[in-house]
């Protein structure tokens, strides 16, 4: 317990860093993922192709490499120094967006065909079919896999540790300067992550029961 109480300031900052990476990354991932997911089922062939290329390329790139690219490439692109925290958020968001897109697409596939057929038989257009019939149903069946994606995002925030963003992944380096025992620090980090993941898992079950689709 001493490791935490003696360095409460640093643990607070690290937890804050992790949460900022998580929530900001999730916001980018959900918005972009929704757009890309919609592109992948849209009637426009080129939009489908662009979505497919984006998802396949980014999903097959290690997150660490993406971070590497953002940390060293983006400052060159924009021509000024950029805060590593912002770069980390974008790297996490763009990476997770591909998983969000795939989850949304698979969620759309779980909606019974009859639902879309009935909607089309009524003469609804693509956007009406999507927004009125398919997406409301898909969004419910998508909750468990989407929470899995978010849990993965939470764990992925630690990768930012390799690029000097203070978070729970990098706290070991800071605390070892203060002479703390690395094993103890890392065990506490593990405990915090288990608690956070259990919290998200609990939220997932709660949402699932609340929004269950009755079929």
């Amino acid at each position: 317990m001493g490791i935490i109480i003696d360095n409460l300031d640093l643990w607070g900052d690290a937890l804050w860093g992790t949460l900022v990476l998580f929530f900001a990354g999730a916001a980018i991932a959900l918005v972009l993922g929704l757009i890309v997911g919609a592109m992948r089922v849209s009637p426009v062939p080129i939009a489908r192709a662009v979505g497919t290329v984006y998802v396949n390329v980014v999903r097959n790139t290690p997150l660490t490499l993406l971070f590497f690219f953002f940390a060293f490439g983006v400052p060159l692109l924009v021509g000024t120094r950029v805060d590593f925290l912002a770069l980390g958020i974008w790297a996490l968001g763009l990476y997770t967006a591909t998983y969000v897109a795939e989850t949304i697409r698979s969620g759309i596939n779980t909606v019974p065909v009859g639902q879309a057929e009935a909607a089309r038989a009524l003469g609804l257009t693509f956007s009406q079919v999507m927004t009125l019939i398919v997406l409301p149903q898909a969004s419910r069946s998508v909750i468990p896999p989407m929470m899995s994606v978010l849990i993965a995002l939470l764990k992925n925030t630690t990768v930012a540790a390799g690029f000097s963003v203070l978070n729970l992944g990098s706290i070991r380096a800071y605390l070892s300067e203060r002479g703390e025992n690395a094993l103890g620090v890392l065990l506490w980090v593990m405990v915090i992550f288990i608690v956070l993941v259990l919290l998200l898992g609990w939220l997932q079950r709660w949402l699932e029961i609340r929004w269950k689709v009755t079929r």
Binding site: P43, L63, F72, L76, N109, A152
Partner: protein
């Protein structure tokens, strides 16, 4: 391609789709052009920055680091599959004293970020006098994490099999181990093969985390080349080269997953249990297989992303 979501486009829809298509192309092309232009302006395509890639020795070193990446991946992949089987069988056990500890182990290993586990092995263990090579830290962490994910995948595969399969096994006089080994696991593994390979892609990608704990794999070497001041710190060229290698390796594995999936779905002997939805789109996604095969309350904590 047609979809249930929209009709075969008529003349006006075709026109509108073309307009939208052109707009997409313009936006994407503009983005790419912006990136390329900025890279060109900052001299990333200059001969000086790429000249380091003209040396044989550099490519030999790139090859060696790729081999180290693959070595960690191979060891971790095999280990994860073995651990996955052990944990899956333990979680399916009828004895509470086996099942409950296995469940706790799986849940804990899945909840801890791989990088933290690697750090624990590499920086944490020396405190109590155990010094691990960075290679072993990478491999053990990947085995622990991916093994626990695979355990859930294999268990889900077994659970989704029709009950008659194990009943028939018992009826012909097999014991519990025989039913599991000869009847349930082979079918479960075949049904879950695409997901298993998808998880192996995750394992391959996660070897790049070894870069943070100084395992000299591909990304580590890319960083080394990239910080070479003599060649003008060619970080972007190094990232592009190593990125292409990673993407090629992972796409190869993903392609294998798709081939295996097509094969198994064609093979007559495989009982396609009903969770595989016949109206799915052509390319099925991992989450889809998982969500289709698993009791919704039991989806593994990680839908493929490494995390």
């Amino acid at each position: 391609m047609t979809s249930v979501l929209y009709d075969v486009p008529g003349p006006r829809a075709v026109l509108r789709n073309r307009v939208l298509g052109v707009a997409t192309v313009v936006v994407v092309a503009a983005l790419i052009a912006l990136v390329v232009w900025r890279l060109a302006v900052t001299g990333q395509f200059s001969a000086a920055k790429w000249s380091i890639f003209t040396y044989t020795n550099v490519w030999v070193q790139i090859g060696l680091s790729a081999v180290r990446t693959l070595a960690a991946f191979a060891a971790a992949g095999v280990g994860a599959i073995v651990l996955g089987f052990v944990l899956a069988i333990a979680r399916l056990s009828e004895h509470r004293w086996v099942r409950i500890p296995a469940t706790v182990i799986v849940e804990v290993l899945r909840a801890v970020p791989v990088l933290i586990f690697m750090m624990l092995l590499y920086y944490g263990l020396p405190v109590i006098g155990i010094r691990l090579d960075s290679y072993w830290a990478v491999v053990i962490a990947l085995v622990a994490y991916n093994g626990s994910v695979l355990a859930e995948v294999i268990r889900a595969g077994v659970v989704s099999l029709p009950g008659g399969q194990s009943e028939a096994g018992y009826a012909i006089g097999l014991r519990k181990s025989g039913v599991m080994r000869l009847i349930l696991l082979p079918q479960a593994l075949r049904a879950m093969m695409p997901v298993v390979i998808a998880q192996l892609v995750v394992t391959l990608k996660d070897t790049a985390l070894g870069f943070i704990i100084t395992y000299p794999e591909l990304l580590y070497y890319a960083k080394l080349i990239g910080s070479n001041a003599v060649y003008g710190s060619p970080l972007i060229p190094a990232a592009l080269v190593s990125g292409s290698i990673y993407i090629a390796l992972c796409l190869g594995l993903s392609y294998l997953a798709r081939v295996v999936e097509k094969r198994t779905s064609r093979a007559p002997g495989v009982a396609r249990t009903e969770p595989i939805d016949p109206r799915r789109h052509e390319e099925q996604t991992v989450t889809q297989v998982l969500s289709a095969q698993i009791d919704p309350l039991d989806v593994p904590g990680d839908g493929g992303p490494s995390r």
